[in-house]
Symmetry: C2
Subunit: 329 residues, 2 copies
């Protein structure tokens, strides 16, 4: 920076001012500095800036499991959205582990981050609440995606869960399905629980009995869907439809049904959750509830943009889901 200052015949302070877009710089000075910067191909040291400003130009993304399509799609959109406003994305794959979350929260202050994006489907452990608040207190911008964390004072952008599942189950009922099973009421999963509630509500609302035997708990991935359905069929359970808590579970479930000669959708209609790309290429193609990671990412970005004009931000942004009807239901 000193070199630039010398080349432009100004002080380092002035260089810094044009770098930071201070408006108290004369046009002439600004031009001279800009020219020098270009000529020397100068780029300010981000660590020095960060140290001085007390904050890195980086945001941490805490993600349940980047290998799940839903999370990788969101990560892609978030990275792109934040890069636009000059923020780097530091990725922490939590692998659905509470301990790793707590660990991160402990180490976070030392990183002097600009903020953290929490993209977790799992319920947040009690202990994390105060730590989140402390971080926010310290000037970090915290935003949750996919799960409402308002009770910890964390602004959240979430998709419909309960209402979406209810809509889908209602659709199944309209198609004449009566014994509708649900895979994905996962212990400790905030979204799994929400979706399950929508399922149950739709059932009761339609005057159908709610049968615990038709609710299967497990993880969110393929194997979980496959195993749950396999066990159900072995156990002689009868059902004519299945609502899954994720597309991956749904696809695993369809494999299990197919392996036992159960035809989808003739014998059992299946609806997934999340509209993963593969669902379109499955045969029968997967009926599912849509997801809008791009909109979520853009909304998250707003929280990191400089606020001009005191425009208050909503603490909770709700994104809609549509029932994407395809061949499996």
């Amino acid at each position: 920076m000193i070199d630039v200052a010398r080349a432009a015949g100004v002080s380092p302070a002035t260089v810094s001012r044009v770098l930071n877009g201070s408006n108290s710089v004369s046009a002439e000075m600004r031009d001279r500095v800009l020219t020098a910067i270009k000529k020397l191909d100068f780029r300010p040291n981000q660590m020095a800036q960060g140290l001085r400003k007390g904050q890195a130009n980086a945001v941490a993304l805490l993600v349940g499991d980047i290998e799940q399509t839903h999370f990788s799609a969101l990560t892609k959109q978030l990275q792109a959205a934040l890069e636009v406003i000059g923020l780097n994305l530091i990725l922490f794959n939590l692998g659905h582990s509470d301990n790793r979350l707590l660990d991160f929260l402990q180490r976070a202050p030392a990183m002097r981050l600009r903020g953290v994006v929490v993209a977790l489907s799992d319920a947040i452990p009690k202990k994390a609440g105060p730590m989140l608040s402390a971080l926010a207190e310290a000037g970090l911008q915290i935003v949750s995606v996919g799960q409402n964390l308002n009770r910890f004072d964390v602004p959240s952008v979430v998709h419909e869960e309960r209402a979406a599942t209810a809509r889908s189950v209602r659709f199944l009922i309209e198609q004449g399905r009566r014994r509708i099973a649900y895979v994905g009421r996962i212990k400790g999963s905030a979204v799994g629980t929400e979706r399950f509630r929508g399922y149950r509500a739709a059932l009761l609302e339609a005057g159908l009995p709610f049968d615990e035997a038709l609710v299967w708990d497990n993880a969110f991935r393929y194997a979980a869907g496959y195993d749950a359905v396999s066990r159900a069929l072995e156990g002689g359970l009868e059902f004519d439809a299945l609502q899954a808590g994720s597309d991956e579970m749904a696809m695993g479930a369809i494999a299990a049904l197919t392996d036992r000669g159960v035809v989808v959708p003739r014998d059992v209609a299946v609806v997934g959750f999340g509209d993963v790309e593969m669902g379109r290429y499955l045969r029968p193609s997967l009926t599912t509830l849509s997801n809008n990671p791009a909109a979520a990412a853009l909304t998250v970005r707003e929280f990191f943009e400089p606020v001009n004009g005191r425009r208050p931000r909503r603490n909770l942004v709700l994104l809609e889901r549509a029932l994407v009807r395809r061949a499996s239901a």
Copy 2:
């Protein structure tokens, strides 16, 4: 840090020394400092350390497209491996764009990174070569995963491509297949080209004709496989096997075959590439070539670990792939 020094009754220099594991600290001092650190829950400011040391404790990961399962699986393993040695992972999703790569390379010096991991399937543009070298010159550790970049002096950990595809095509020939198509000789894709070469080599080696009409070019994803096969069938092309350049293409291809009443594997045998989890749950399940992201990540990590004892590192690490035989071929 000054607080810690005061609490321990030592100088900040000593605190720094125990923090950095310098061995020229007496046991007693060390204990006092450690106690004070624990009591005050002190964590050194990473930005200050980075500024002083001239390097952040972060590595950038350049990835083709995090939404492709292959990349997300690798990313997950890399993040975990690097975290073990205290390195943060800054994610840059390139979306297969040359411009974004060049852009990053330009901005990289200002970030003072510890290193960068290049995980790209696309051929590297000429201009990137010198920039990569310049970064390495500046003390960054650069490692390529998935593509051999030794010609730019970048150590690389790669999986078999050509040999693996050849193995798979040989297998198809042994099964009696004679008209074997290939989807995935993608212009600009380094790995796509390599895989294609293995395909052609196996054909010629077996004395089978190589037919350009049976080689389809496109992107790596589902739609590419679907569209290529749809067009081939519409064009009346005949083939009894298909080697795909990725699992996603293979699954898209299978959808297209199914839609036109072509039965897999009876009429057309299909082999994918990469052993994505979904392949196991497709019906028929997908025969494919394996992939070892965990081994790749661990190998990458070795390049970032402090070198003790001058143990020279290989510039090229080759990981094997196995033919994972399932129902589709």
